[in-house]
């Protein structure tokens, strides 16, 4: 099952601007760290710090909001919306792919397999930021539907004049392979 991008992004629409702004806030917070500390950070540490600020900001913006639920599940920090969408927050590449070592729980999340506290029908999405080459600013904010280490689709979120919009940035694939993890892995069960 590949969830329809238009449907998912329409459902996500009320959250997009806040998520977009929260990422920029989190990144900005990291840039305030003294250079003597950030010089010792590798990319993973930097990403962890930013993600930590992101989660705090997500909590500030969404805790108590109607139809939103914040879930912490052994390292997975999730934002559930209307029992239909669930976001996790990651640094991603230009195609919306995340790159960490994956735990079983993360694989299950991406594969839409049952996880406690998560409604099975909620589509699992990655809300991510792509830093610039030098890691000094955000290149773009992306929402992606992960398939393990790859993606089914990706959308770039833009905010102009206080209104959020999105554009499809899913990399082109050969006809007939749209449902596949194009990095050569098997497609996820149920796809």
């Amino acid at each position: 099952m590949i969830e329809d991008q238009n449907r998912c992004m329409a459902l996500a629409e009320p959250l997009l601007q806040d998520v977009h702004d929260a990422w920029h806030h989190a990144f900005g917070e990291y840039l305030k760290y003294p250079a003597e500390f950030t010089a010792e950070h590798d990319d993973t540490t930097a990403a962890n710090c930013i993600r930590s600020h992101m989660w705090k900001e997500v909590t500030r913006r969404f805790a108590g909001r109607k139809r939103c639920k914040l879930i912490r599940m052994r390292g997975l920090n999730l934002l559930l919306h209307r029992d239909e969408l669930v976001f996790r927050f990651k640094k991603v590449d230009g195609a919306g792919r995340h790159r960490n070592y994956q735990t079983q729980q993360q694989e299950d999340f991406d594969d839409q397999l049952p996880l406690p506290e998560l409604p099975p029908e909620a589509v699992r999405l990655t809300s991510g930021y792509q830093p610039d080459f030098a890691g000094q600013s955000i290149e773009r904010i992306i929402v992606a539907r992960p398939i393990r280490r790859s993606i089914a689709w990706a959308a770039q979120v833009n905010v102009t004049d206080g209104a959020a919009s999105w554009v499809d940035i899913t990399p082109a694939r050969l006809p007939g392979t749209e449902h596949m993890d194009y990095r050569g892995r098997k497609s996820a069960p149920g796809d």
Binding site: H41, D43, P131, F133, G135, Q136
Partner: protein, 354 residues
């Protein structure tokens, strides 16, 4: 009060003034109404100009009359950077040289009445005599100046505390970053291009410091340049201290390292390669990535470090010795406007009317 020791017109000063304004003899003739033939003869010392001609030339070149009567000798370039200089146009080279000479004269005049206490002056090490490498010299200098481990916080301050004078100037080209030299009776002078990024500015000053410390006697230009570069890299990024920051050499991590060490990403990549922390192949890959990513310049702005020695000397003259801006301009043989422009924060005298 100013340095006009006799009333003989000095052709060297005319050339300097003309070069400082990037004017050809023909330009000067057009601006001043004096014939080029006469200007040429005056410059070559074949004739002394009349008072009227001096006034016209002075007005055209915007220097006070006294400037042309200073009995100073113009200096050429120091024996470094020969290769870089050959790539510069003659006009740019002449202007830089003129600017360097004029500012040198200012330093000489300002330092006559202003004394600085220097506890640990810039030392000299002869590499051939001592058998030291540039890296070892850098290490010794850091130890001599008792620098803490890690990045050099402010290299301009270090140089000036050691008796040097740093003078940021507008070279009008990015082919030449800095020039330094020792001149008799003067502290070591470091002229640095103020239009370059702060990280390059620091590296250039460290490079010049290397010349001043190691190259008292000129040798092969290429060799001296390479030694000064090695000195600068080791002085700003000591191997033992910088190594932990170069464990993961990626452009994205180097930007953060740059912010702390205040050296360019390019310099960090080179240092990682020189310290054999990355392979030749990966060094090439990084350079390709670098060129692709930073064609418009590197991220992270390192602020230009501001010197204070010359400013303090000017301030001393004005506050302690009672110089007015007019006195100062007269001493330095500048117009009042130029004195204001060159020594930016020199307070201007204002007329107050009730």
């Amino acid at each position: 009060m100013h340095q006009v020791t006799n009333e003989r017109f000095n052709p060297d000063m005319l050339r300097l003034a003309r070069d400082a304004r990037e004017a050809t003899q023909e330009d000067l003739a057009n601006w001043s109404g004096v014939t080029q033939a006469l200007i040429s003869k005056v410059e070559n010392g074949l004739t002394q100009p009349s008072e009227e001609v001096v006034e016209k030339i002075a007005a055209a070149l915007r220097f006070p009359r006294a400037f042309f009567f200073q009995q100073e000798r113009a200096m050429g370039f120091p024996p470094f950077h020969y290769r870089k200089r050959t790539r510069l146009g003659a006009k740019a080279l002449a202007r830089i040289n003129a600017s360097m000479n004029i500012r040198r004269q200012h330093v000489a005049k300002l330092m006559r009445s202003y004394e600085r206490e220097v506890l640990k002056p810039i030392p000299q090490y002869d590499l051939d005599e001592t058998g030291l490498t540039p890296e070892r010299v850098a290490e010794r200098l850091r130890a001599y100046w008792m620098l803490p481990r890690g990045p050099v916080d402010n290299i301009v301050d270090l140089i000036e505390r050691a008796g040097g004078i740093v003078i940021p100037v507008r070279f009008g080209t990015d082919l030449l970053d800095a020039i330094s030299f020792r001149a008799e009776g003067l502290p070591p002078l470091f002229f640095v291009n103020k239009d370059i990024p702060g990280d390059r500015y620091r590296f250039s000053l460290a490079h010049e410091l290397g010349h001043i410390v190691m190259h008292n006697i000129p040798a092969d230009d290429q060799k001296m340049e390479a030694e000064a570069d090695r000195f600068a890299a080791a002085f700003l990024m000591p191997a033992q201290d910088v190594r932990p920051y170069l464990n993961t050499v990626k452009i994205s991590t180097l930007a953060r390292v740059k912010a702390f060490w205040k050296v360019s990403i390019k310099a960090l990549i080179k240092r990682a390669h020189d310290l054999k922390l990355i392979t030749d192949h990966y060094y090439k890959v990084l350079n390709i990535q670098y060129n692709k990513s930073f064609a418009q310049g590197e991220p992270i702005v390192i602020p230009l470090e501001q010197p204070s020695a010359l400013k303090n000397a000017v301030k001393y003259h004005m506050q302690n010795l009672g110089y007015s801006i007019r006195d100062l301009a007269a001493m330095l043989c500048l117009t009042e406007d130029d004195a204001q422009l060159v020594y930016g924060d020199v307070p201007r005298l204002r007329l107050i009317s009730s």
